[in-house]
Subunit: 381 residues, 2 copies
């Protein structure tokens, strides 16, 4: 070894269901609904597959080597362990490869880690992001995110159209003889997305004060002349990439206070978006948005034990997870090319209403590109 | 303390997003998309909530106490830690409650566990099931599962009807002028379920040899006169309980070999289902199914490195997770009242085709109740 020798990258292990664990899916590009062991040893990707998944993995998994789990289990048994479990089998496999130390994701299974340590494997967890390159989206990944976003915008368009065609009757909204509810609008949105194999869950359609809890999904009557938060974030069933967008509507006439609140959020969002560029600290974007809204008198504080004002982060990374690195909030983070982040300020005041406007941006060479094209207009006549 | 004193149950901790972690959802009945700390201390459930979720948790979470995460963070900071992270905050909180030892789920976050251990908290992981009572479904839970199943059966019925109304043209199937594909049938099924707020993902509609990989979702042309595996397992967006059902169809005429294979699976499934009762060992159910199919000449082996025959377990528990305890396979498990399990034997032979038939059962006082009502008929004219 000379001083020119590059430091060897650590050997890696994951153990998860790639249907739910995005790091593992990112590594193997192969969806499995049950946990399986993944290794990266001397740079080579190896997976241990059950008989159930053996044939499919040979066709679909993007790895260097596929090993039969049951074959290794038999070998482990022959080595003297009567009923070898996952820890026995994976420890046996690692040792057979001469590996005694592995790096694992921060969210690695504690029970398995403790069992591997008892079997002499040294384990070190790595803080997120486990794969740094997952944070920087390729053009192809940006396209997949944008495709999901277009289907999402088309779905919101259907909901907005339904509201346009509805009539206001007293404080309620009526469409083709039925009272418009959060459930109805969510169904219109989720079914539209599913027609394009985008899978919506926990779609938010929250009317009036319900929307002042930013993650309240909304239920029951959608009230005329009150704020309506529509926040939609499906995962594509084709590519597994998410999209995320929020718009705020009022069917009828918004109160002057609500209108002013909307304008404050929109102005602050524009200010924040304009700052997004490589080299910019996300904390400064967040603070600029906070300060801009504060300068118009919108205070963030706790009233009766409940937060009001702007009490969440400005944005989050998005890709194979709907919330992933980086965060755009009060923590330092220098934005870099290829990062895809939301910019979604909001203001929430029970009695007045809720406003949140969310766009999805990709950081480019010199600035950013706003992937979202849906218009921002509060009132629906 | 006298000998009559009941052993204190251990104090518990979880740290996860309850949207994805079913143990945590089960404990709090409250959906949060980002990880948060949960404690059960001297039997009382306590959660630390971010400002973002504080208001909503007070309305929705089924816990004994809700504490502001940011309040504890400030206190931790005042205790002398400059930028307290999750491990600092939760260790501070535990110590303030006099707790120095906690039990956590097997899949607890390793990075956090190691950080808590460094801060003097003793951590022991518990093998699944973390909450034993989650395994035994209440009547209400069985009803929620059955509701999801009915919506799933209605969706499969739509797909079967589409096939009934289609015409065979050469080897293909044509519906209203378009060639029937896996994608088309999956859309019909997933959209129908979404209309009832049941969220399907990874729905399997796999034609011919594609189905011989049991988890191949299927793609492209659905071939006439060949096996079609339809395996559907949505999660309810209302109750979060899953359903799971598989049927095998042939549009047109099945070959004699495929017909015999179907009859073998159906006969074996009936035999297995008849055995399901409290006190029965699931291993014996699995072995009876294996032996029955073998007795008709259906061998399970590996050909060219790929498993053929019946190479997966007979069934799995189902509830808030699509796969959960117990498993019905080669491991010992004594079935108990309230367990909801699938019975889903299959036979897979490339060149002949794939057959899997799956019903969902609840173990009752004296036997079982089959929750599935969808008929079992191979050929669609």
């Amino acid at each position: 070894m000379t001083s020119k020798t590059k430091a060897a990258s650590p050997d890696l292990m994951m153990y998860a269901a790639s249907e739910y664990d995005s790091n593992l899916y990112y590594a193997v590009k192969f969806v499995v609904p049950d946990p399986f062991p993944f290794f990266q040893i001397k740079g080579k990707k190896i997976i241990l597959m059950s008989d159930l998944e053996l044939g499919r993995s040979q066709k679909q998994a993007k790895v260097d080597e596929i090993v039969s789990y049951s074959d290794i289990q038999v070998k482990t048994q022959k080595s003297g362990i009567e009923k070898p479990g996952v820890a026995d089998v994976t420890a046996f496999f690692l040792k057979s490869k001469g590996v005694h130390k592995i790096q694992v994701p921060y969210n690695f299974n504690l029970g398995l880690a403790d069992a591997l340590r008892l079997r002499g494997i040294e384990i070190e967890s790595k803080a997120d992001p486990f794969f740094q390159e997952r944070v920087y989206k390729s053009d192809e990944e940006v396209k997949m995110i944008t495709d999901s976003l277009r289907h999402t915008e088309a779905a919101i368009h259907k909901a907005e159209n339904l509201l346009k065609k509805s009539k206001i009757v007293g404080k309620k909204i009526v469409y083709q003889g039925q009272v418009v509810t959060s459930e109805l609008l969510k169904k219109v949105i989720n079914v539209s997305m599913m027609e394009n194999n985008c899978i919506g869950s926990h779609t938010i359609v929250a009317s009036g004060d319900l929307g002042t809890d930013p993650h309240n999904e909304g239920t029951g009557t959608v009230w005329a002349h009150q704020s309506l938060i529509v926040d939609v974030f499906p995962r594509s069933g084709d590519t597994f990439y998410y999209a995320d967008i929020t718009r705020t509507f009022v069917k009828g006439k918004a109160s002057p206070a609500l209108k002013a609140q909307y304008e404050a959020v929109q102005r602050a969002q524009e200010k924040g978006i304009a700052m997004v560029a490589p080299g910019m600290n996300g904390r400064l974007v967040h603070q600029a948005i906070q300060q801009d809204m504060e300068s118009y008198g919108y205070k963030t504080e706790r009233r009766n034990g409940v937060a009001v004002g702007f009490f969440h982060g400005t944005g989050h990374g998005l890709g194979l997870d709907v919330h992933e690195a980086p965060r755009v909030n009060s923590s330092d983070h220098i934005l870099k090319k290829g990062e895809v982040v939301t910019v979604e300020p909001g203001l929430y005041y029970p009695g007045v209403g809720a406003v949140r406007i969310e766009d999805l941006l990709v950081v480019t060479d010199k600035g950013h590109r706003n992937l979202t094209v849906y218009p921002k207009k509060l009132e629906i006549a």
